[in-house]
Symmetry: C2
Subunit: 320 residues, 2 copies
Amino acid sequence: VKFELTILGSSSATPAHNRNQSCQLLNIDEQLFLLDCGEGAQLQFLKYKIKSGRIKHIFISHLHGDHYLGLFGFISSMHLQGRNTDLHIYGPPGLAEIITLQLKYSESVFNYMVHFHEISSDQPEVILDDEKVYVETMLMSHRIKCYGFIFHEKPKKRKLRKERLSEEIKLQEIIKLRNGEDLLNEDGSIRIKNEDVTFPPRPLSHFANCSDTIYLEHLAPQLQNMDLMYHEATFGDDMGERAEKTFHTTARQAATLALKANVKKLIIGHFSTRYRDLKPLLEQAREVFPNTYLAIEGENHNISGEKTNEIPTEESSLED
Amino acid sequence: VKFELTILGSSSATPAHNRNQSCQLLNIDEQLFLLDCGEGAQLQFLKYKIKSGRIKHIFISHLHGDHYLGLFGFISSMHLQGRNTDLHIYGPPGLAEIITLQLKYSESVFNYMVHFHEISSDQPEVILDDEKVYVETMLMSHRIKCYGFIFHEKPKKRKLRKERLSEEIKLQEIIKLRNGEDLLNEDGSIRIKNEDVTFPPRPLSHFANCSDTIYLEHLAPQLQNMDLMYHEATFGDDMGERAEKTFHTTARQAATLALKANVKKLIIGHFSTRYRDLKPLLEQAREVFPNTYLAIEGENHNISGEKTNEIPTEESSLED
């Protein structure tokens, strides 16, 4: 079972030093979510040999070009490559208007449906509620309206310890056990105690994507205990004033938020072109929050993999 | 003196096989013109270490994404890199509306002026008339409105053979000689015969960019004697029907037009992703028009260089 973030872009404003513009791919149990779609996103998919067809949901944080200019090319190419399943795009007001205008002048009609979900509330709201995942917004504070996204895995079924179950067990009973219920005798007494024959489900994973923003300490409660937090860190300590003036965050500030929110792991990205060498930013962040990593294009961060010690072995469980 | 075309994109529709979307740079005597601006154009500038700041004019053939999606990122990055000189963008109606909408939602104001010149006439017209160059349109025939562009160098001054001139010659007389006039005595008789003391100017160069179109034989007169013609050749012989259906050209058809127009050199590009190997397309074109070359990204075609035998040496001439 996967809960994996792949970095596909880590540059701010303009591409530089072989770093592309913002783009991340989240794989939750083979459901793919795209987060921001900077220019050249489709080239990154080619480079890293990732198939785009399975993406059902795209989230755009805000309408600065470095976060969405790859979107029209990305969705056009999926059309040309034969996509025929619906696509959902979430973003701030204006995105649908831009894409619709581009479609109008190219006189293109896609072979698949695109559903736009424009985010209009500044309060946290659930914008996607799926079988396995729900996604909640956060209002960032940038020069233009910008949203962060929090992905929550939904509770899983318990895993059966098949070796402890008789072969005569019925499907109905299996469902009850996986839902955490005991099996009862007709008189209401316990026939099979749930915890004797099941393992608890894998712990749920939670990921927060904090795109362009000034440092916002008040987000700490909403970000509490995230397994993984991506946060922009455009600047280092040397540019603290510029960070504030341009509504960006320093690496140290991102780490401070990670500490206050008690997240397990922090990835920093959206680096200013002024930093060819990113080590100083990483060091500044790690002084505050040691479990910080740089967003490096092509690298995967599999949170679920980091929880394997809590997961029963394949042999002893039924997969979800 | 340069008259050089640099290929920066050669793929159609979607990028593939390390080929990017349409983009070409024309350098006429260090004046730079950009022709189409597919997604990732700014990445190509980085890759080939070309400075974009000197581009004053950008030409967009039509509003299919693979020909203009890199434009907003390209002009935004020039702003961020400190550009402060005016930029002129030529293209079909709709382009200004798209860019303006993108600017509106990004709440961006560039540090430099962008002048949009929307092409509205289907008749050939001169859309740029500069000191050294003028640019004329051609109506292509594609699924949406699409224009080709012809670049004509303007007549140059004659070059002085300094060793044949007395040092007492006056500036006014030099200007006359460079304009091709003889110098006369007061009685109207010839004092200095122009051709005795000047070389003819370098021959003028002419370049035609024929973007997406079905095969249009009727363009041959307008393209007559071009030094260099770029023509799309999306398909090979195997896909002749599809070329017609999608309003594209085959390599052989592009070569046929080159032959009928008596151009000196043909470059074919805008290759379908179905061709990993482009040799068959090149061979098919060369059967008709041997002086055909593939559009290969990063390659330069210097027409002026091919005329050096006609140009006097530096020592014996004054440069324009």
